[in-house]
Amino acid sequence: MNQSNKTYHDKIVIRLIQFSILWAIAAMLTGVYLSAELVWPTLDFGQFWLSFGRLRPLHTNGIIFGFGVSALMATAFYSVQRTSHTPLFLPGLAWFCCYAWQLLVLTGGLSLLAGFNTAKEYAELEWPFDIAITVIWVCFAIVFFGTVANRKIKPIYISNWFYGALIIVIAMLHIVNNLAIPVSLGKSYSLYAGAKDAMVQWWYGHNAVGFLLTGGFLGMLYYFLPKHAERPIWSYRLSIVAFWAFVYSYIWAGPHHLHYSSIPEWVQSLGMVMSVILLAPSWATMVNGIMTVSTAWEKLRKDPALKFIVLSLAFYGLATFEGPMMSLRSVNVVSHFTDWTIGHVHSGALGWNAMITYGTFYFMVPRLAGRELYSSQLAHLHFWLALAGTMLYIMAMWAAGVSQGLLWLSVDQIGELSFSFKEVMASMAPYYLLRLVAGVIFLFGTVLMAYNLFMTLKGQLPVRVTAPPVNPAFAVAS
């Protein structure tokens, strides 16, 4: 048996978890404020920086780049060293990634508040930030792939394939979509124009969802679910097939964001067909995950971390069924430009991304702190608050979205709109209020988790985790 006694670098994981939770609270608070502005529009007090247009990208960037990417870095660093049986490659560079990324999120957020915005959804940051993102992302890639290259065990575990796809594809999307001509420090113009710009933007936008919010988080799932359920993934072969099918199908699906627009019809059809094909790899993963825990129900009943992870799988299945259905042109004619899309996004963001992240945090923090979770009861309460908040949110938005779509399509006998835009929006008031309540509930749960994990880390004990011996038949020859 080969054994490496080098200690895994886990302090950086703790720091990234702390930053991730900090951004989650800040960005969710912004989201709650935004939803309050939709109920009481004067809440911006006439201040530009409090206006919906400034706060909305702050909310999405904070969630995706602050909360999401910090969590992905934390879990990638935690799992890649363990599955490779070797500590992180260039730990100093990993620390640089950690702090430089937080500085980027902070300054980028301030620039959005100040009104610097490229007007490309999820790529709003101006060119100096785009260059900084590229540099930090390359450093992240060096640390991750360097660790994989240094591995002491021959096979590359499936979670690392997903994290690897996240790093490579996001780099490609980010660079291509953000190619622009700067005219000043705070303003640039996209290299693309018109319909081409729209196609490149949604190639980026949809695959940012695909490879960051889906692929990266599937990396989390494939590592932390078997780890926590204490049994291997139900079908490892299925996970490999699902990976290749996922990376192939997702990259084509972007044009479904541009149905009934000026892009060629065949491009719209292609996007729609590939979106429907995506159901296969998505549900293959869901079935694989559910079957993995199918013999661990007793553990599931008692363990809040596993509860979060398994519930996230259910929402993953829901969102990846709903997405392909919404990509059908006949459904999209109702759903496009309505709050149904917001409901769909949040069934993924709250139900899938946030829940699985919470599950992994509840799993990792006690182990990293060398002690039990401060309060299991608080974690259970958080679980029910998160579930209630998510369900209330998406049901309110489904109802609002379907109502909007049908009211906008309604015409009278001479073909004029039956309802004005103002009338339709006025009828949304109860749903928007429900969404605000849902957001407050979800945010409260997140604050409870922050307190629980803070108290767990407060009594932190020294823990040293090393790589175990490797079966010589699977060891990398040194």
Binding site: I153, P155, P232, Y248, S269, L461, A467
Partner: protein
């Protein structure tokens, strides 16, 4: 143009299906089992 794109798409699809089947079958059952066990035996805690 539509048929050209469709045929090209199907060819790429056939390649990817082939790649997925190849990647899924290139290891024997023992190797697959061992790989699937990696997360369950990847750390030793020292107090």
């Amino acid at each position: 143009m539509t048929w050209f794109i469709f045929a090209g798409d199907m060819l790429v699809m056939a390649f990817m299906v082939g790649l997925a089947i190849w990647a899924g079958n290139r290891s024997n059952d023992k190797e697959i089992r061992e790989t699937a066990m990696i997360p369950l035996q990847d750390e030793e805690e020292h107090g």
